[in-house]
């Protein structure tokens, strides 16, 4: 490796290299999560991918908000009526067979659609049982899941994606050139490669076995059917395993070098898994691990959007229709009703005029409507200082109480913790008890109090929840004292100024908030923060879970 090349160039070259390999076998690698701002760099990456695809391979784009029929295909009503026999319409998935489907705003994909895409990736085919059609169509395709910022891509798809690329923070005109694989190193047998990649994945705390398998596939593609070399494996470990690492692997030596050392004698004789772990470790910028992990976990469907309900709220996207009688608050879905009735007109009408459109009771379709109380409670927890462990336990209790209730009330819960220099998304919005327990367990406490960062993360999360058609509710468990500003500077004054500024923003955006004062003796700062937020202020020196939950219950009405 050329020592003059910096980390940036390396990551860009990796991304370009990944595009080439993905183009060679999109279906085998299943998907790429491409985290990048919409702009020239992302476009160039997509262009590179497209240019490398075999000639004639389809390259389709899923328009955001597409309905299930557009995705899977269905009955082409117009053609059906014209032809007098059922004419199926190909969906985007079938059209993309043998090529690539680009999914913009993948973070906003409805959970049912995400699961559907996952099933298609697994089977290499679409199994359609819709509107009188029953068929299977080949759909051997790969997905490019475009995402921006911190919003996670549905976990069910992120899990299957071989590659997670992050192009955020690069210049728009940054060079995007794949380089030749230098420093190939000695030959590696397939059995060795499988074992080493699996071991390296385990060392990084990656629970699923898919990443190791995907890394192996990628290495094989890189070797182009030739022999596998150590250099292939190091590179795929960096590309596939590093972004998913849940913990920094134990370095083989005291401190890992900033970049892989030049190939040479120092690598000889060392076990392959160690070298791969080292390759992963060098690709992990310090401090970024937690951010990686939060993004990496992905968004679970969390039940609500799972059934497409969340989308049907007043602010949400339509969730389609289902057979049923209107009334009792259910609204008629007119065009779906007419579509449902259309094919049967010949059956119903006498062959001669008068030609009238005949609607039967069975044709009626009603709009699927989300119950109004689709709330996401964002708990913002102060994990700094000495009392952190206790407070976290309390927040955990509160989250679990909320979740236990949420089963009935359709509430989701997210947890943001702040300590040291930064805030961290501990738990993306979820309704799953299992996930909540796993996410909250084992967070260390201590350090400074970056209150502003915590509120800012909560604010962004609240905005994201609004876009999902849900009502956010921010609950801050804090004593209102801050000593780390947004930019990481320490000092009470700037820290407080920043926190109050974010609070004003939250208030201006109309997010309902509650401040729960968790200090041993109620302090004025928490009350002042509540005033700045326009929030309710509860002094609970020992925030007992059920009391927090009870307080929130009142809030939700």
């Amino acid at each position: 490796m050329n020592p003059a090349r910096d980390e940036t160039a390396l990551r860009l070259a990796d991304a370009a290299w990944a595009a080439r390999l993905f183009a060679r076998d999109p279906h085998g690698l299943q998907a790429v999560v491409l985290r990048a701002r919409a702009g020239p760099l992302r476009d160039r990456w997509l262009a590179l991918l497209r240019a490398t695809l075999p000639p004639g391979a389809p390259f389709r784009r899923l328009p955001p908000g597409s309905d299930t029929d557009r995705l899977t295909g269905g009955l082409d009503l117009e053609a059906t009526l014209a032809a007098g026999r059922p004419v199926p319409a190909a969906g985007l998935l079938a059209e993309a067979d043998g090529g690539i489907l680009v999914v913009p705003m993948a973070e906003r994909l409805a959970a049912t659609h995400a699961a559907l895409l996952a099933a298609v990736l697994d089977a290499g085919a679409i199994h359609l049982e819709r509107h009188g059609l029953s068929c299977r169509r080949p759909a051997r395709l790969g997905l490019v899941l475009l995402a921006e910022g911190d919003e996670p891509v549905p976990a069910i798809l992120a899990e299957r994606a071989a590659l997670w690329l992050d192009l955020e923070g690069f210049r728009a005109n940054a060079p995007l050139e794949p380089d030749a694989l230098d420093a190939l190193g000695p030959d590696v047998s397939l059995a060795e490669a499988a074992a080493a990649l699996t071991e390296a994945a385990a060392a990084c705390g990656i629970a699923s076995l898919r990443p190791a398998l995907m890394a192996l596939r990628l290495a094989r593609l890189a070797a182009r059917g030739g022999g596998l070399r150590r250099g292939h494996l190091e590179r795929v470990a960096r590309l596939v395993l590093a972004p998913r690492a849940q913990r920094r692997p134990e370095p083989a030596q005291e401190s890992p070098p900033p970049r892989p050392p030049a190939d040479g004698a120092d690598k000889e004789g060392r076990p392959l898994p160690d070298l791969l772990v080292e390759a992963v470790a060098t690709a992990l910028p310090p401090g970024l691990l937690s951010a990686f992990a939060a993004k990496a976990q992905g968004r679970s469907a969390g039940g609500d959007p799972a059934r497409g309900r969340a989308r049907a709220g007043l602010r949400g996207r339509p969730a389609g229709s289902r057979p049923g009688l209107p009334g009792n608050g259910r609204r008629l879905a007119l065009s779906d009703t007419l579509q449902a009735a259309a094919p049967w007109q010949r059956l119903r009408a006498p062959p001669r005029p008068p030609l009238r459109f005949r609607l039967h009771r069975d044709d009626l379709r009603i709009q699927r409507v989300e119950p109004p109380a689709a709330t996401t409670a964002v708990l913002v927890v102060d994990a700094s200082g000495s009392a952190a462990a206790e407070r976290l336990a309390e927040a955990k209790g509160a989250a679990e109480w909320l979740l236990a209730e949420s089963y009935v009330r359709r509430t989701e819960v997210a947890v943001v913790a702040f300590r040291g220099q930064e805030a961290q998304l501990l738990l993306p919005p979820t309704r799953s008890l299992t996930r909540a327990r796993r996410a909250i367990a084992g967070l260390p406490g201590g350090g400074g109090t970056p209150l502003a960062a915590g509120l800012e993360l909560a604010r962004r999360l609240a905005a994201a929840e609004r876009r999902r058609g849900r009502t956010p509710l921010v609950v801050a468990l804090t004593d209102g004292r801050a000593n780390v500003a947004l930019d990481g500077r320490t000092g009470r004054e700037p820290a407080r100024a920043d926190a109050w500024r974010v609070a004003a923003l939250l208030r201006a955006e109309g997010v309902a908030t509650t401040v729960i004062d968790i200090s041993a003796r109620p302090r004025p700062e928490a009350a002042e923060l509540a005033a700045a937020l326009g929030a309710r202020h509860l002094a609970l020196p020992r925030a007992e879970p059920h009391r927090i939950a009870a307080a929130l219950r009142e809030d939700r009405g």
Partner: protein, 339 residues
């Protein structure tokens, strides 16, 4: 159809494999729900099992999978069988219910083609008819539309599917083994639906490095040469298929002795499981396992092996209790039955 990863080549996951085989031996147990982490081969196992199911007598041409033994004279009207009926041997049906399936395809509806071209009312059976006497599999079951779930529950309860449309009224039997799989992180399963399942298993990613490596190796070998991999596994597949088939035949003669009955009742009492369904499932599962193990009567060992899968989804839930259901059952087993 692309080759499916062979059931016999699945590394570890013994409880999941055992539960699926038990459900194949005794369809009356009420199906299997598989919860588990991503990438643990849940759907691979279920789809693999589909290839191992024995043949059963079917009426030739019947679109409702009628049982010739049950209704000796005739099938459901309009089923498509021609008189005189001929009985053929066909594999136990296995039907995949994909996400996004619409109601008309699940319960059946009028045949669109016949309506358009001939103006005729012909009933087109749905997935429920195809699954009669077989398996109905739903992957990511916790993401299934609520109204489809309600339909399934209704039919699973009555064993009969009734469709009325366009002046046509069809009624046909629909008894099937419901197999579901899903990731609890995607959302919890509705309690009413969870209740329907006889057995429930939880699969985890293996933690043993050697086992993990073996999983990756085998899966990679399969991806490289699917046909070759399947061929190499053929003998092992036949052995399992034979074992299931023989156990099915032996099931009626397999006995659950009184002392095993008593111990099952004591365990259920200690765990406070609701109703008798848990106890009944426990006994049936123990008997099916005994039949799989070629034993004339069920033993305590069978009971111990199936107790977690038969009972873990029937315990009252306490969201604050960190102890998983499996641990609670194991504790109760140790207390009631001794080590």
């Amino acid at each position: 159809m692309a080759p499916v990863y062979p059931f016999s080549a699945i590394v570890g996951q013994e409880e999941m494999k055992r539960a699926l085989m038990i459900a194949a031996v005794d369809p009356g147990i009420g199906g299997v729900m598989i919860f588990g982490d991503r990438g643990t081969g849940k759907s691979t196992a279920v789809r693999g099992l589909a290839r191992l199911l024995p043949r059963i007598p079917m009426v030739e041409g019947c679109r409702f999978n009628c049982d010739p033994a049950e209704d000796a004279e005739r099938c459901v009207p309009g089923c498509g069988a021609v008189a005189p009926r001929r009985v053929v041997q066909a594999p136990v049906p296995f039907v995949d219910l994909p996400l996004g399936a619409t109601e008309d395809r699940v319960v059946g509806a009028l045949d669109l083609e016949a309506a358009l071209t001939q103006g005729a009312r012909v009933f087109e059976p749905g997935l429920l008819a195809r699954a009669h006497r077989g398996f109905l599999y739903i992957d990511e079951i916790n993401l299934l539309d609520d109204h489809i779930v309600d339909l399934l529950l209704d039919v699973a309860q009555s064993g009969e599917n009734i469709v009325e449309r366009e002046g046509l009224s069809v009624r046909h039997p629909a008894r099937f083994v419901l197999v579901g799989s899903g990731n609890p992180e995607e959302g919890e399963l509705r309690p009413q639906l969870l209740d329907r399942f006889g057995l429930s298993v939880e699969v985890r990613t293996p933690t043993e490095l050697a086992e993990r490596i073996e999983v990756v190796r085998r899966r990679d070998a399969f991806d490289q040469d699917r046909a070759g991999f399947v061929a190499a596994q053929a003998a092992a597949e036949r052995r399992i298929a034979r074992r299931i088939d023989q156990a099915r035949r032996r099931l009626a003669q397999t006995v659950v002795p009184d002392d095993v009955l008593t111990q099952a009742a004591r365990l259920c009492l200690a765990l406070g499981t609701d109703g008798l369904r848990g106890e009944l499932t426990l006994l049936r599962a123990a008997r099916a396992l005994a039949a799989l193990e070629r034993r004339p009567e069920a033993q305590m060992a069978d009971l111990k092996a199936v107790a977690p899968m038969a009972l873990r989804h029937r315990l009252r839930r306490n969201p604050l209790d960190e102890t998983g259901s499996t641990a609670r059952i194991e504790r109760a087993m140790a207390e009631v039955w001794g080590p």
